[in-house]
Amino acid sequence: MKNLKKTTKVDFATYIGVTLAFLIVFILQGRGMLTNAMESWLVPVCCFIVMAVSLNLVVGVSGELSLGHAGFMSIGAFSGIVAGMSLAEAVPLVPLRLALAMAVGAACAALAGFLIGIPVLRLRGDYLAIVTLAFGQIIKDLITCLLVGYDKRGLHFVFNLDGLRSVSDLHLEEGGVAIIKGAQGAVGVTKMASFPAGYVLVMVALVIVLNLIRSRTGRAIMACRDNRIAAESVGINVTKYKMIAFVVSAALAGAAGALFGLNYGGLASSRFDFNTSIMVLVYVVLGGLGNIWGSVIGAAVLYILPEALREFADYRMLIYAIVLILVMLATNNDQLKALVGRIIPGRKEADANG
């Protein structure tokens, strides 16, 4: 173990930490020691951990501010739901169908990520941020216009451009089901997601992202972030590496979306709006930019926080906002930093290097 690099140790600690957390929760769940409320957090927490980890790849590692990450989640969710529902007969085994749905969600989101990445990655800084925000909104609006149904003849799509079409325009045969009903979103979804599936997805995301970061590609991505011009001058194809980070991130968000979508009986595309993108960004920033296990903890804590604050009823979101501001102020306070440096000696040095 001593020969391992520090980063490798941290990575393994992350895997072990996540696995331990999973095992503890899983055993507690098996013995009926979790409340129903806690059980209902498990899958969404897994989804948002993957969201945060994947967004960290873009914001923290690649250094581009993205304000439209929920858009990819949305694409993943709805394509995953369509796949999961329409394959019901072809693939009776639920875990396999769930895996397929997640794969479809990831593929669709990756494709979207690639198409969006072409224009987006030509821009810099805040202009890039606003364009990702714009794409997030566009995706939400497009899905609001989408009608999808399934019957014996296969899948049927109607795009409700003029806003005047409804489910009857799908012309479904007898026994056909409308899966996505435009603005109302997906209805009558069979719940397939489970906590173990969420754990597997988190581990897959961690393995992909951590290995990507520690690889030659990852170092190239970080070089682009730290100094674009210097990276270009040593022959790194900046656009290519930024694109790799962007597409991988989109694919993971798509898989998370598929899992999320298949965890609820109904879901509207308005769930994946600007606020959700911002939410995930908050997880990432509070967890620490570029710090993957920080994102894991950040997402878990901050998803549960508003639920845990329910006791305060009307003041719940107000308290959440205050906590958010105070944490940001505290973590950027020089005096507090100095204090922590004094309490934990050696920490300061590591900080200075990091």
Binding site: D126, I138, I229, V285, M317, L324, L329, N332
Partner: protein, 292 residues
């Protein structure tokens, strides 16, 4: 004729966006931060004006002034408490704090004013000749467009011809150098927030006069749209925000009228993307070449 009505609607909406965008662009240009709480200051401005008119029975103009004063104080307080301690921190830290402030304002407004919509009586209504109404021109539209132009010109003069304006431009160029030249950077930034928030109050009143329901989330969508408008025109540029806002409003109205009401928002954002691809720093934004 109908086209003309759509155009008027679009220009009137665009003027509101422009006023909000002017506030955004000022703050961004000088403090270099995306103030996502700006939209919620608009909402507060609307509520203050509403309360002054309905509960205190003050005349409209006094209510507007009161709302400007309250928002100015609010803006300066927010800046002092939440943003100033983060001056040295990364831009993302400030962004997240701004989001926290935005949540705070929305939820505080819900606790104070409740969740049911308040119906805003137009603060700027006056009788118009019959012919104008038939064209789809309302008094609100006239006031909105006029005040937008006045504010734009006043801001341009202020920034270019006063000492404070000069200080603002200096801070926007280089904070460190400005400080060395004896400019009080903190005061300049506070001043910027004060102006931006006062503009937000005006925008709030005009927004609610044209679209009269007022709820705690009233400001968020216009806030995002105005942010888009500011980027559209080139963020940091005052005439840019004006043109960006107007164009955005007109495009939105035209898209709703002739393409699809469903996708009007999507079309607005698509146009923004195209513009940014052709002109990566917006219509009137300055292109800053990177130096090694």
């Amino acid at each position: 004729m109908v086209f003309f009505s759509y155009l008027i609607g679009g220009i009137s909406l665009g003027s509101v966006y422009a006023i909000i965008a002017l506030g955004y662009t000022m703050v961004y240009g000088i403090a270099k931060m995306l103030n996502f709480a700006h939209g919620d200051v608009i909402m507060v401005g609307g509520y203050i004006c509403y309360c002054a008119m309905t509960y205190l029975n003050l005349p409209a103009i006094v209510s507007i002034l009161l709302s400007m004063v309250v928002c100015t104080v609010l803006g300066v307080v927010i800046e002092g408490l939440a943003y100033r301690p983060l001056r040295q921190a990364g831009s993302l830290a400030v962004l997240i704090t701004a989001i926290g402030v935005s949540y705070f304002l929305q939820n505080a407004a819900q606790l104070i004013w409740g969740v049911t919509p308040k119906i805003f009586t137009s603060a700027v209504s006056f009788p118009l000749p019959e012919g104008l109404t038939d064209l789809g021109i309302s008094s609100e539209a006239i006031v909105t467009v006029a005040s937008c132009v006045v504010i734009m010109i006043a801001l341009t003069l202020f920034v270019n011809h006063t000492k404070m304006g000069k200080a603002m431009r200096a801070c926007s160029e280089d904070k460190g150098a400005a400080q060395l030249m004896g400019i009080n950077v903190n005061r300049t930034i506070s001043m910027t927030f004060a102006i931006g928030s006062a503009l937000a109050a005006i925008a709030g009143v005009l927004l609610c006069s044209t679209f009269p329901t007022l709820i705690p989330t009233t400001g968020s969508m216009p806030g995002i749209k105005a942010f888009t408008a500011a980027v559209f025109g080139g963020i940091g540029s005052i005439p840019g925000a004006f043109i960006g806002g107007l164009l955005l409003g007109v495009i939105e109205a035209m898209a709703q009228a002739y393409i699809s009401t469903n996708l009007a928002n999507a079309i607005v954002f698509a146009v923004l993307i195209v513009v940014l691809l052709v002109r990566p720093s917006g219509l009137l934004g300055k292109y800053v070449p990177e130096k090694v």
